[in-house]
């Protein structure tokens, strides 16, 4: 145990050194843009990162319990985003909401989380449960099929058009100016997203750490057979894990829609990849790791977009993933897996 925590500390120290070098580089070697630009990108990165962190949690929860990569998670997130949009449109749209805005936003989140959660349940039931004892490659291919089915179903039903959430119209264009009028701008929407994500994460940690279900979940994750012998129904625990993870993904989908306005049927693919990157960077299976990883991926993407350009940003994120996998396969906060024979 001691060696693991020392390794985690070492990882974090290394990460801190890298970040410090980067900050110095970013600010002193690009003087035309300066501190404000840097901090603005950082704030944007934190907003983006909290969305990625929520997606990453979905991957991490499922991986922790089933050792399975849920490729379809990105598309669950996309469906959540569409459900939120559907509720928004049904209740009057962003410009003339039929009910108070706060209630409307709450409705969107609840509907998206419920819808995505049920979808996650269904996916688990149909694509993964029949393959519980199959070779490891089988559920991955099945997941690929699910992802493809969901994407193309949305394309079939709703077309390839972009849908506009107009989150700023809905909530507010205003925000907080840090450091004066010319300083860093944090929109209220951004505040909402960050605090919403934090709230969900705290709720999740509470659920996993203190509830009876959380205890069962940790037990199943530790040893499924032993847990079953102790009277825990693993199938039920796994199903609820999918429900919780997918609901977080759905909430992330609504947040993405609110902040970035445009959604379409392919947003799940890239977001899923980045959420997965976040989960791996943090150490897959670890809940704090997923949060840290999400934050990091969001920051890196935002910085890369600001200092380089949008397309390269994706490549940078992919590069980081491959680097982390090669150098620290167990992630920043993860524990190296011992292979049992």
């Amino acid at each position: 145990m001691a060696s693991t925590s020392r390794q985690v500390l070492g990882n974090l120290a290394g990460l801190g050194v890298l970040l410090a070098i980067w900050v110095v580089y970013a600010v002193y070697f690009s003087p035309t843009q300066g501190w404000t630009f840097f901090f603005q990108l950082t704030v944007n990165g934190i907003i983006l990162g909290s969305i990625y962190a929520l997606i990453a949690l979905g991957y991490s929860l499922v991986y922790g319990i089933l050792k399975l990569l849920n490729f379809a998670h990105g598309d669950v997130y996309m469906i959540g985003s569409f459900i939120g949009f559907g509720v928004l449109t049904l209740l009057g749209g962003p410009l003339s909401p039929a009910i108070p805005v706060a209630l409307l936003v709450l409705c969107m989140f609840v509907a998206a989380m419920l819808g995505s959660g049920v979808l996650g349940l269904a996916i688990e039931r149909f694509a993964y449960r029949p393959l519980r004892d199959a070779p490891r490659i089988a559920p991955l291919i099945s997941a690929l099929g699910v992802a493809f089915f969901l994407e193309n179903s949305v394309l079939l039903l709703f077309g390839a058009d972009y849908r506009n959430y107009d989150g700023y119209d809905l909530i507010s264009y205003n925000g907080i100016h840090l450091g004066g009028e010319a300083g860093v701008f944090v929109s209220y929407l951004g505040v909402l997203v960050i605090s919403g994500a934090l709230l969900l994460m705290v709720a999740l940690i509470a659920l996993v750490r203190w509830s009876r279900f959380g205890k069962a979940m940790r037990a199943v994750s530790f040893d499924r057979e032993a847990a079953a012998m102790m009277g825990i129904d693993p199938d039920r625990v796994i199903a609820i894990t999918f429900l919780v993870g997918s609901a977080l993904g759905g909430a992330a989908g609504v947040m993405f829609g609110l902040v970035y306005s445009q959604i379409y049927y392919l947003i799940g693919f890239l977001a899923g990849l980045k959420g997965f990157t976040a989960a791996v960077v943090g150490g897959i299976g670890s809940i704090p790791g997923a949060m840290l990883g999400g934050l990091l991926v969001g920051l890196v993407e935002s910085w890369a977009k600001g200092y380089l350009n949008g397309n390269v940003a994706d490549l940078v994120v992919f590069g980081i993933l491959i680097g982390v996998m090669l150098l620290r396969p167990s992630g920043l906060l993860g524990t190296p897996a011992l292979q049992k024979v």
Partner: protein, 496 residues
């Protein structure tokens, strides 16, 4: 202890079993044997020598002599061969070595771009690239480059477990698409416009010149490639390396302990598969005289996987059969082919699905079929009486089936929204059917089938390009859940 238990007559006497042979395992083949016609065909097929199986392919040589249009040969013949080639390569990676390579399509693309770059002229962003290498050199270079790239990507698999490898390779595939689309600073790939100005396959060596330019020519060339690769892969799978691949797929740890260089084997498989993809890519680029980023996206990846999974990972015959089945249905479902073919294929698939669902009981099948037909007419009659709009739509290119469809399926005018709800309800119903058992299932099947026909006629047939991908997604899920070994694969004997 004089009290030995009395010998069980069902148990084999010790004299029958050899020491060190697990009877249950050694009888796997007999248990797997099916009776009836299917079983007999399987036995005859299994008894053929490899050269005999290969000889069965010869009729395919004569396909170009049939009075078919160039487009048909291109869409069916060339695509089947290219996907067969791709599947043979992926089969080495996934089927033999058990590595889930989701960046496979990038090697296909890399081969295509390499050929396009080496045998063609391009002006982009102020750079001019003019190379007109002979095809044998550029194809060889493309193949070698892909193999080297596979070596690099494969060496990352050294430290990665199965799932991680999948995601790293998925990233690799994605990075390839991003790179070719936009992120390339030197204009080598010409962004989303792709490379268009490519030479046809032109071989010249020792003063002999040979140019492949017609579709039929490409067909024969590809056919030769497929046969060649088939022979190589077959020999490889029987070789020491092939056996080592399979051993390390089944149990890497055990293989390692037996002294096999598991990591090197993985990288070899990776690189070998990549080389075959590179070959397929370069011929593909020459045949369509271009290489475009959208040719190498996730959709192509899914298609290749559908071929490999349907055919049965690990089986070479399966790859050919899978490529034929998938590409034919893929092209038939396409918008450019006569829609009634798509319709026939769809309903045929539905019938096969129902037959598979009720394969245990003919009575239930008969009841389900009869009540489905009756329910369709009943719903139609009721709708005609109370909801005239519901039957006043028109059939989308019905052909000879127009009358039957018109009388049996509801065709509302402006059916868009209704069809969307129908689609969602259909997903729910299918979910329910899988859960139900016995006669309950018989009760739910007819409404589901009627609804399926409704959704197909009002929504799916109008967007064939999307529908076929939806169907392939469903196919992958269903195959994994019911017959993960595919058509020609063999179910594994699990030794616990």
């Amino acid at each position: 202890m004089a009290d030995t238990p009395p010998p069980n007559p069902d148990q084999p006497t010790p004299a029958n079993t050899e020491i060190g042979v697990d009877r249950w395992v050694s009888e796997a083949d007999e248990r797997r044997d099916r009776g009836g016609l299917g079983g007999r065909i399987q036995r005859i097929w299994g008894g053929l020598p490899p050269s005999g199986k290969l000889a069965l392919l010869t009729p395919a040589i004569f396909l170009p002599f049939l009075p078919l249009s160039e487009a048909t040969i291109y869409n069916y013949g060339l695509f089947i061969l290219i996907y067969a080639l791709l599947a043979l390569g992926l089969n080495v990676v996934v089927g033999f070595a058990g590595l889930l390579d989701l960046g496979y399509v990038a090697f296909f693309g890399f081969g295509a771009y390499a050929y396009a770059f080496l045998s063609g002229t391009h002006h982009e962003k102020g750079h001019e690239y003019t190379h007109h290498w002979s095809a044998q050199y550029s194809i060889l270079t493309a193949v070698v480059l892909c193999a080297v790239l596979g070596l690099f990507l494969g060496s990352s698999s050294r430290r990665l477990l199965g799932d991680y490898l999948a995601i790293v390779t998925l990233f690799f595939g994605q990075a390839f698409v991003v790179f070719t689309n936009s992120a390339d600073p030197y204009g080598i790939t010409n962004g989303s416009n792709g490379l268009g100005n490519i030479d046809p396959l032109h071989f010249s060596a020792f003063g002999v010149h040979l140019t492949v330019s017609s579709t039929r020519g490409y067909y024969w060339f590809l056919f030769g490639c497929v046969v060649l690769v088939l022979i190589i892969v077959h020999l490889l799978s029987e070789s020491r390396t092939g056996r080592a691949w399979k051993a390390s797929r089944e149990d890497p740890l055990a293989a390692e302990l037996m002294g096999m260089p598991v990591n090197r084997l993985k990288i070899m498989a990776f690189s070998f598969g990549a080389a075959i993809a590179g070959l397929a890519g370069s011929v593909f680029a020459a045949a369509q005289t271009g290489a475009f980023p959208q040719n190498f996206g996730t959709q192509v990846l899914i298609l290749i996987y559908a071929v490999v999974i349907l055919g049965g990972t690990g089986s070479l015959t399966g790859m050919l059969a899978g490529a034929t089945a998938i590409i034919v249905s893929f092209q038939v479902l396409d918008s450019t082919s006569p829609p009634n073919n798509a319709r026939t294929l769809f309903y045929l698939g539905l019938i096969v699905g129902v037959a598979a669902l009720f394969r245990k009981s003919r009575l239930k099948m008969a009841v389900a079929v009869v009540s489905t037909i009756a329910l369709g007419f009943a719903v139609h009659a009721i709708a005609e009486a109370v909801w005239p709009r519901g039957t006043s739509g028109s059939v989308t290119s019905g052909g000879y089936l127009t009358g039957a469809i018109k009388d049996w399926v509801l065709l509302p005018t402006h059916a868009n929204r209704l069809a969307i709800y129908g689609y969602l309800a259909l997903i729910v119903l299918v979910v329910v059917i899988v859960q139900l058992k016995g006669w309950w299932r018989v009760a739910v099947v007819p409404p589901t089938l009627v609804l399926t026909a409704f959704v197909w006629e009002n929504l799916l047939i109008q967007q064939p390009a999307v529908t076929r991908y939806v169907l392939f997604g469903v196919l992958l899920i269903a195959l994994m859940a019911t017959r993960p070994q595919g058509l020609f694969g063999t179910a594994k004997v699990e030794i616990v």
